[in-house]
């Protein structure tokens, strides 16, 4: 035996970096094969284009590696060039970058864009920062952002002539279509697209070639995590935070929670990013806690961009952001990792809650606001005009004339009042709130109630102040002259109307027999004293029993219209209900008692008219 030396330990795990990369490649290859198969079902040229994109990406990554290796080659230190180059290419594992990058491109990407993108990814993002193990950003993610910014319009999800594939309108991706109407991801609906939920998860829709088959990506992700190729904490915390936020956003947006959750996961490149790009070990923090943290932060940024940002897809940007903060997270975590576990647990919990809260708040703010309904404009049934000239209060104001237009409903309730002048000079109108309150009051009462109001009294010689003891909602505080002017003008408008009221009590017919309790019907009858015509009958109370209330509503207008412009003398001459209602009494079937009671009430009200 020959004794040699070495470094402890002398046992090593069989897991090597090459093996990890190889397993990652196998996982990606599975997804790629599924993508190729799907694209072939769309058409031969789709399938060929998929293979073309992948091949071009790998080829030009390889070329970029050669360029970088040649630039780095130092004759004295590195030995023979070809051996050096082979080792350089093998130990940089750029093919993984190439495959991931190719899978994030949509099918319609022109070949020259793929070339530029893959060379950018490898030369600029990877080698310029130091090669494998030293890159700050995920090359595939950053290159994808670069392409979105520079060649955004070229990244189409269809080949020329194939605008309607995947059931979508004009070849948009599902992501942009989902948000077609209004605020994206809040009010969008899968119904906008022609893609069903199952299609979403089985990759039967258009998007980037690698990101659509959500179910397969999840399965591959679980297998890779079990084999310790990727760390499970990042995707689990990422998807968990997205799920939690989606629950709250769906509550804010008032959409179906489960459906919203499933759509959030199925649409776009989020799951692909979570499994393959967030978990890139070179650009992640090294501690387990750090990996969980970037999952949470990445989810926050991603969902925020989806809800509030301009771009339809936020995964690449959130990956870039998280890559920036990874070294900072590493730097901040010191001490032993099995001490004070409550610290990372609390911080992560707070971050999750904070993210969820922020996202909920932003989505609430972004919800399309429904403008408040303008108040319905009520067209009055009839309008009366009136005017009043106010006496001159001494010293402070001058005489003025108020003209009003009083609009009444068909039950002779005041619904609209328009006035011109109720103070002179105008500065007395500074009590506008009070005026509005009085107008509101007037438009809520009936003519009969108006006529029952006491007249606002003026105290001798004092301007504006109210007589002590005088109250009423028709009095504007601090503006007695104006109150009086308004009142008198309305009074003038309604001067020709007289109100006659009556109550009639009887046992109503209810549910097949006469009820034991009496029902009181009270009516106001409005008569125009100039023409002696009944204008309107207003049933204040007791129109019908509860059982017949709906039926009464349907015939009410027909019954009451019988009384419009009915001559009083003629009416009082009727002795029989049928004389008023005529043959149409049959149509009042079901509420004949109400109609008869009404007749009796009006008769009673007008007793002694003209006397």
């Amino acid at each position: 035996m020959k004794i040699v030396s070495g470094n402890a330990p002398f046992l090593r795990s069989k897991r090597t970096t090459s093996q990890i990369m190889m397993e990652l490649l196998i996982g990606l290859a599975i997804i790629f094969v599924a993508a190729v198969i799907y694209n072939f079902t769309l058409g031969v040229r789709y399938g060929l284009k998929t293979i073309c994109i992948m091949t071009v990406a790998i080829l030009f990554t390889f070329i970029s590696d050669i360029i970088a290796g040649s630039l780095r080659y130092n004759k004295e230190k590195d030995g023979k060039f070809d051996e050096y180059l082979i080792h350089f290419i093998k130990s940089n594992y750029s093919v993984v970058t190439a495959v991931i990058f190719a899978l994030t491109l949509p099918i319609g990407t022109p070949v020259y864009v793929v070339i530029i993108g893959s060379m950018f990814a490898t030369l600029v993002v990877k080698h310029a920062f130091g090669g494998f193990g030293s890159n700050v950003f995920n090359p595939a993610a950053l290159s994808r952002i670069f392409l979105a910014l520079t060649f955004g319009s070229q990244l189409k999800a269809y080949l020329p002539g194939g605008e309607n594939i995947g059931g979508l309108v004009a070849g948009a991706t599902v992501t942009s279509q989902y948000a077609a109407d209004g605020v994206k991801f809040l009010t969008g609906s899968l119904a906008n697209t022609n893609v069903s939920m199952l299609d979403l998860y089985l990759g039967n829709h258009s998007g980037a070639i690698g990101e659509t088959f959500t179910l397969l990506i999840l399965i591959v992700g679980i297998v890779l995590a079990a084999r310790e190729v990727i760390n499970w904490r990042t995707p689990v915390f990422f998807l968990g935070t997205v799920a939690l936020s989606s629950v709250f956003v769906s509550l804010v947006a008032k959409v179906n929670m489960i459906e919203y959750l499933l759509v959030q996961f199925g649409v776009g490149g989020m799951v692909f990013g979570a499994v393959f790009m967030f978990t890139d070990p070179v650009t992640s923090p090294t501690s387990n806690y750090g990996k969980a943290l970037i999952g949470i932060i990445g989810a926050l940024i991603n969902v925020l961009i989806r809800i509030a940002g301009v771009y339809p897809e936020g995964t690449a940007f959130s990956i870039a952001f998280v890559n920036i903060i990874s070294p900072m997270i590493d730097r901040l975590i010191t001490g032993r990792t099995n001490n004070k576990v409550w610290v990372p647990a609390t911080v992560s919990g707070v971050m999750v809650l904070g993210s969820v809260g922020l996202i909920t708040g932003v989505s609430a703010a972004k919800m399309p606001r429904v403008a408040p309904e303008p108040p319905p404009i009520v067209e009055p049934f009839v309008t009366y005009l009136g005017s009043y000239t106010s006496p001159t209060p001494s010293e402070y104001a001058e005489e003025f004339t108020t003209n009003v237009e009083v609009g009444l409903s068909d039950a002779y309730h005041i619904v609209k009042i328009e006035y011109d002048v109720i103070a002179n000079p105008d500065n007395y109108k500074k009590v506008t709130d009070g005026i509005d309150a009085v107008i509101d009051y007037y438009t809520s009462i009936s003519v009969a109630e108006f006529k029952a109001l006491p007249v606002p009294a003026l105290s001798e010689g004092t301007t504006g102040s109210t007589v002590v003891g005088q109250t009423g909602e028709h009095i504007i505080p601090g503006a007695i002259y104006s109150s009086r002017a308004l009142y008198e003008a309305i009074n003038d408008a309604l001067k020709d109307l007289n109100v006659y009221s009556a109550d009639v009590e009887d046992y109503p017919y209810d549910s097949g027999g006469y009820s034991d309790e009496t029902l009181v019907m009270s009516v106001d009858v409005y008569v125009d004293t100039v023409t002696d015509l009944i204008k309107v009958v207003d049933i204040k109370d007791g129109a019908s029993t509860g059982t017949y209330a709906d039926r009464w509503e349907t015939v009410k207008e027909a019954v009451l219209s019988k009384y419009h412009d009915l001559d009083v003398a003629t009416f009082l001459g009727y002795t029989n209900v049928a004389e008023l209602y005529g043959e149409e009494v049959a149509t009042y079937a079901g509420v004949t008692y109400s109609a008869r009671r009404l007749f009796n009430a009006v008769q009673k009200a007008l007793e002694g008219y003209g006397g």
Binding site: L11, N231, V282
Partner: protein, 433 residues
Amino acid sequence: MKLFQTVGRRKIPGYKSMSLERELVVLDPKKVEYVYFPLVAANNVPLEVFVKEGDKVKVGTKIALKQQFSVPLFSSVSGTVRAIEKRLNVTTGRPCDHLVIKNDFKMTKEKPLKKVELDASKEDIVAAIKEAGIVGLGGANFPTWVKYNNVKDIHTILINAVECEPYLTTDYVSCSLNAAKVISGARYLQKAAGASKVIVAIKVKKEQACNCLKEAAAPYPDIEVREVPDRYPMGWERTLIQTIFKKQYDKLPSEIGVIVNNSTTAIAVHDALVEGSPIVSRIVTVSGNAVKNAANIVVPVGILAETVLNEFEVEEKEVVLLVGGPMTSNPAKDVSFALTACHGALTLLEKVVYRPVACLRCGSCTAHCPAGLQPIEILRAFEGRDYERLEKLETLRCVDCGLCSYVCPSKIEVTDMMKKAKTLLRVHQSRKK
């Protein structure tokens, strides 16, 4: 699977069946011509020597004393003292003076040490352990009596029969053969500390030893045999205490009321206090993938590695000679060194060359460090000579268990760099003072 903490352990291959296939070998005493005892301690302080060239000694004669903690050394053979020689001291890695004793093959025994009853006082037991020069036979070589000197509030003695290093089976075999002695020694240690119970920890896969121990412990209700999972480094104090008691401590297990001792040490305690004989021989595992007939062998203390290895067939390849297991031991330069009482194994492994690639920053080393450290960050700080950060990362808590290098997929020499980082930090700290 831990969420944020380090996992702290890993299942590694054990290769234990290799050395258990054959019967325990007892070395023919005629083959041991000389025995050697290093006269310089690990802290480079020379030992006080009681014999000189030409003196006659018997088995069990006190020949030297380590100044620190007063640990006496005893002769393992009867014979004559020869001139002092310089030999490779495998603990320090450099040659030093060795006491040489020529074997007269008679194995005459010295009069036994003073025997101690179980009902003796604490102080008597501790004194007897000190007199017998008992040290930690699990490889640590720490004087046992110091652990029990003036201790308070100890409730459990933990007997460590875990033996988590791959290839090693010396504790396993000695537990299987001498289970009663383990329990007896444990009872003495229990008395010495005033503890209320004893837990004997052994790995789940070692049924034979486990059963023997359970049988021996049966009459004593306060002695429990506990099985622990088969993970590396379960035999490390901290990991074992974390697994059994679910508690952590800062520097010493006595902070939480526990004292840990190796099972072979417990056997030595029994031998010394009941039969009056100090440590004169032990079972050594000679194993490894370069050894064709791996086995356990009983050898006297002070035997040369050369003599031991002559009993075994070693492959004609480049091998690494480890004094101990493959995970923690440093390789020896050659076979000329002598085995002391705490060396329990010789492992010969075929040399494998690893070509490291760039650090993947996967974090596996951090996820598996049993001390909870972050080797990847420590390496970064080490390369940048950032002493403050090295201190903040608690670099000096590393115990060189080797798991970080084991799990690294890029085959980076993480443990080696941790050692360098520790050295750097210690030098820097001593310079600051």
